[in-house]
């Protein structure tokens, strides 16, 4: 009976450490395994026949499908500063394009004052390239790029969209049925906008992969909660992306809120539900492009440039959202007027 200590790469949450422990303990010759998220190390006790180096290779084979690697030596942290030479101009150009898009005044394209399902779809399409892009699109980009970076699969991304569309159907129906709009008040709006901006800021800095300290700031679910999620599936987190998708119903996006107001005026479950669902479907093309696009690119050779570009864009949008939230609260005067 011996105890070896290995370094683990690619861990980002408590569920990851549980998953690795579970996989290792299932091996017949392993007695116990304990993973420390803080130090990125795993202590394994058992009967080893092979050298630590060979064992590390064996272990890696078991966990690499989840995006982790196990090694004896600590992997040197590579910041990849060279990627910035491309990432900075690309991201600045994209942000510039975003400003141009806002100035283009897509909102004036909507001329009808009544909402058919067709109009709801068009409003969704416009919303996804308009002001809502800063908050919903920014959140999707930051989450999907982070998830892709940590080895998430298409399932995580799909669940987010399923959650979003399903959530819009049910909550839209409830708004129609109850006649009680689920708008949040001014303070809640400002607080939510601020929280989303901060989440994006942390995720964006993580995507840059330059600083180490933000790893500690990452939002980790409590272990007990994670255990349930992990036991359900060994591959991915099911619940989190689904819940985030549903949660986008409440994001402070003007288009979403005006559609909710319309759903409210219908006074029926089906009409409210369908209006909101069609609207969500309208936003799907752009959001799906963002999430599945980042998933694809995560396996390309130039992924380093992509993650840094995404990081810069997410940070810029986070700062924009933060400035907007503060302006709405009346704390600072607005910086932009599109």
């Amino acid at each position: 009976m011996k105890t070896y200590t290995f370094h683990v790469n690619g861990m980002h949450c408590k569920a990851c450490s549980l998953l690795i422990e579970q996989i290792l303990v299932e091996l017949p010759n392993i007695d116990s395994a304990s993973v420390s998220l803080a130090t990125n190390k795993v202590n394994v006790t058992g009967d080893f026949v092979r050298t630590p180096e060979e064992t590390a290779v064996d272990f890696t084979k078991l966990v690499q499908s989840h995006g982790y690697t196990i090694s004896v030596e600590k992997n040197a942290h590579i910041a990849g500063w060279g990627d910035f030479a491309y990432a900075v101009p690309i991201s600045v150009a994209i942000i510039f394009g975003f400003f141009l898009l806002q100035k283009a005044g897509f909102a004036s394209l909507i001329t009808s004052s009544s909402v058919s399902y067709g109009t709801a779809f068009v409003i969704g399409l416009i919303a996804s390239v308009s002001t809502c892009l800063a908050i919903v699109g920014g959140l999707v980009l930051s989450l999907s790029a982070s998830s892709a970076k940590e080895g998430g699969t298409w399932r995580t991304q799909s669940l987010f969209h399923v959650g979003r569309i399903g959530g819009f159907f049910i909550l839209g129906g409830l708004v129609g049925l109850l006649g009680n709009s689920l708008h949040l008040g001014l303070t809640a709006n400002v607080v939510l906008g601020g929280i989303v901006a901060l989440v994006m800021l942390v995720l964006g800095v993580n995507l840059l992969d330059v600083f180490h300290f933000t790893k500690k700031l990452q939002f980790t679910l409590p272990t007990r909660f994670s255990k349930h999620v992990v036991k359900g599936s060994k591959h991915d987190h099911y619940l989190a992306p689904l819940l985030v998708g549903i949660g986008t119903f409440f994001l402070p996006c003007g288009f979403t809120q005006s559609m909710q107001l319309y759903a409210l005026s219908t006074g029926s479950f089906m009409q409210g539900a369908l209006t909101m669902t069609v609207f969500a479907l309208g936003t799907l093309p752009v959001l799906a492009l963002l999430s599945f696009g980042s998933l694809n690119i995560a396996h390309k050779p130039w992924k380093g440039t992509f993650f840094k570009t995404a990081g810069i864009i997410v940070i810029a949008l986070a700062l924009l959202n933060l400035a907007n939230a503060l302006a709405t609260a009346g704390i600072i005067s607005p910086l932009f007027n599109f």
Binding site: V92, G105, I110, L261, N324, A327, G330, F336, N337, F338
Partner: protein
């Protein structure tokens, strides 16, 4: 390597400069509109339209007078329908089409009143003089 960093910094600088120039276009040279201010029955009425932003963006009105801010929407589904006026603690979701009267008491009709949409992307100012 050094050359590519230099090119990268130059392009970024140019784009950032361009973006600021672009955003500031027609923002500060706006002297302020007085044509939308009218006096009806001793009350000051300010007409502002909300669709894809607010128009006019800067209004100059008389200070210390009971004022009605009349916001008109027509097929407005974007953020500008979600109007916030922090100084008045006012927040309302305007109907897609219609008009909304917001009463500004004489005591509040002082200085600059800032109105914006709940996401903060569109805004307008009323300057009471």
């Amino acid at each position: 390597m050094n050359k590519s960093i230099f090119v990268s910094v130059a392009i970024s600088g140019l784009l950032i400069g361009g973006a600021f120039w672009f955003v500031s276009l027609g923002q500060n040279d706006d002297a302020g509109d007085t044509s939308v201010v009218s006096m009806i029955d001793g009350k000051q009425v300010i007409d502002i339209s909300a669709k894809g932003g607010y128009s006019p963006r800067k209004v100059i009105a008389k200070a210390g007078v009971l004022t009605i801010l009349r916001v008109k929407t027509s097929g407005t589904f974007d953020c500008s329908a979600s109007l916030v006026i922090p100084k008045l603690s006012y927040q309302k979701f305007l109907q897609p089409s219609g008009t909304e009267d917001i009463i500004i008491p004489a005591g509040k009709a002082q200085g600059t009143l800032q109105g914006l949409c709940s996401m903060g992307m569109y805004n307008f100012q009323i300057i009471f003089q």
